[in-house]
């Protein structure tokens, strides 16, 4: 039985991923037809490569349609309620770094911690006749993190793009979003709460706990993990 490894099909994540595999002595060869979205790793016979969008990779692995994949940890943890039950996290790959953070308007000079946010959320309906609204595409991560801080009374406004603009336009009061340098947040007059970093994400090699793997497949997974671990992380 072939073992399928799902890799990101587009952009910087794809390029960094291919470089990382090559550096580990496991170069990926794409099929001649670029529209075929297929590939192979000659050093790992019995493993085929499928190129998918990074978000789809987490969902397909959760469903058990593929055994192995590389995607952002944020996407893996967002795609299912209990990511550690759905996936085994085999290796952190050192690229695609980004933080999922809680960011509030800079004008909230009284809010510098999650405890402050808890106060503001609890008081919000009483003051404004509605719940505090958080714009995000990270429903799962937001709900888990806020529940851990005892914050339950808020509403999520789904945002599929330009989340950082939501507070300034009044579409939401604060956001949960991904940031690398913080410059987009700053440009939108938002600040990250110091204890509001939900996840320090990077690309990860994950394995589906729902997909069956043959003994040969198990051996291939061990070789791949050993090879990736052998390359010093930058």
């Amino acid at each position: 039985m072939m073992l399928t490894l799902a890799l990101p099909s587009k952009g910087r994540l794809r390029d960094a991923c291919l470089q990382r595999f090559a550096a580990a002595g496991m170069p990926v060869e794409s099929s001649a037809d670029p529209r075929a979205y297929r590939g192979a790793i000659p050093a790992l016979p019995g493993v085929e490569v499928a190129f998918l969008s990074a978000g789809e990779i987490a969902r397909e692995l959760a469903a058990g349609n593929f055994a192995l994949g590389v995607t952002g940890e944020d996407l893996a943890r967002e795609s299912v309620a209990d990511a550690d039950k759905a996936f085994a996290f085999l290796a952190r790959l050192g690229f695609g770094r980004a933080d999922v953070v809680i960011a509030v308007p800079q004008s909230w000079i009284d809010v510098g911690s999650m405890a402050d946010l808890d106060d503001v959320a609890a008081d919000f309906r009483h003051r404004h006749g509605r719940r505090l609204r958080i714009a995000t595409k990270y429903w799962q991560l937001t709900q888990h993190f806020l529940a851990g801080h005892g914050i339950a009374v808020y509403r999520i406004v789904e945002s599929l793009g330009a989340t950082e603009g939501a507070p300034a336009t009044g579409a939401a009061d604060l956001i949960v979003d991904i940031t690398t340098t913080g410059s987009t947040l700053a440009a939108n007059r938002l600040k990250v709460l110091p204890d509001g970093v939900i996840l320090r994400s990077e690309a990860v090699l994950i394995r589906s706990r729902a997909a069956a793997v043959s003994p040969d497949g198990e051996a291939a997974i061990r070789r791949l993990v050993a090879a990736l671990a052998g390359v010093a992380r930058e």
């Binding site: 308007p105 800079q106 004008s107 106060d119 806020l146 339950a152 300034a168 009061d173």
Partner: protein
């Protein structure tokens, strides 16, 4: 018996219990995009009906299937319960709800069950008697029922005062001068300069007020006597028959003026029939962390079982949250019929 549709608008549930409920219920949408859910419980639909009909006082009984995403238990199960809405004799209504709950369980054949009882009102009275600053009181009242979180708050408030963050000097000066109007004006001016339409939905005035309030609080610490009183209170546990005396002893030992809260507690305890009182244990730290509970809260667990077979309490704030114009006293309980059957 109250008739309640299986398919319910999701908004009232999410608005009252919070966004966290979303992953524990079953949500779908109609063609217009409005969120609907499979009935996750009866209390909110019953209350909405009570408000819509403009009823003054009524008791509602219900029984039927509800849907919840639960760990290790089926998502579809049956619940039964009673909601008593509008009764202003709170002690009598509380006692009736507690007695009915235990009677119903006995009739279902559940034996050897114990009720744990807590009281949000007594805890809030203790916080008020300690004369803690209002923001601290609100924060602790919210954490009621979650002992770990509550102890964390107590430790945090008794510890070293945090270093004031070295921030913007202009803001620091206005905060130090406790100049609320000046600070609000500054926040408003900066928002305008930034071209920001809104600070989320918050106004410069409320931001300035809270910033100054926090700066004032930063210098205040919970002293040892207050801390000891709170910890003694939270450690209190007694059979219901002795609970009012235990509370009175604790109040006397720590100089807490919570006489009227204890009197209300004792009146309720006296109204509970003796054969039930022996199955009830008061735990001062016991609560349910939902903002609409205001008084007694209780849970029934069968000996050796982890999950409660019944739970309930007083929720005088819920009908207001759901749109009632005036406060409507409310108390009720709900039985997990699947667990009750398994416990037989």
């Amino acid at each position: 018996m109250a008739e309640v549709n299986l398919l319910q608008p999701a908004e009232p549930f999410l608005d009252t219990a919070g966004e966290d409920l979303r992953r524990r219920i079953f949500i779908t949408a109609d063609a217009s995009g409005a969120d609907l859910c499979l009935r996750p419980e009866f209390t909110i639909p019953v209350c909405l009906r009570h408000i819509a009909h403009g009823n003054a006082r009524a008791r509602y009984a219900y029984e039927g299937t509800v849907f919840r995403q639960r760990r290790d238990e089926p998502a579809e199960f049956r619940q039964a319960g009673i909601e008593d809405l509008g009764e202003t004799d709170r002690a009598a209504a509380d006692a009736r709800a507690i007695a009915d709950c235990l009677d119903a369980l006995a009739r279902l054949g559940v034996a050897g069950a114990t009720m744990t009882l807590g009281d949000q009102a007594v805890f809030e009275a203790a916080l008020a008697a300690l004369d803690l600053p209002a923001p601290w009181r609100r924060r602790m009242a919210r954490a009621f029922g979650d002992l770990g979180r509550l102890k964390g708050e107590v430790a945090r408030l008794s510890g070293e005062a945090p270093e004031p963050a070295a921030g913007d000097p202009q803001i620091a000066r206005l905060v130090a001068a406790r100049d609320e109007a000046g600070l609000a004006a500054l926040v408003g001016r900066r928002m305008a300069e930034d071209g920001v339409l809104s600070a989320g939905g918050r106004t410069p005035g409320e931001i300035a007020r809270r910033a100054i309030e926090q700066a004032t609080l930063a210098a205040v610490r919970l002293d040892a006597a207050h801390r000891a009183a709170l910890e003694a209170f939270l450690g209190l546990e007694a059979p219901l028959a002795r609970a009012a005396d235990a509370l009175a002893d604790c109040a006397r030992a720590h100089g807490l003026g919570i006489g009227s809260a204890i009197a209300a507690f004792a009146a309720r305890a006296r109204a509970i029939p003796l054969q039930h009182a022996s199955a009830i244990r008061y735990r001062a730290a016991f609560g349910r962390s939902l903002e609409y509970y205001t008084g007694v809260v209780f849970e029934v667990v069968q000996a050796g079982a982890g999950k409660p077979v019944a739970g309930g309490g007083r929720y005088d704030r819920l009908l207001g949250l759901l749109g009632a114009r005036s406060e409507i006293p409310a108390v009720g309980f709900s039985i997990w019929l699947d667990r009750a059957e398994a416990a037989r």
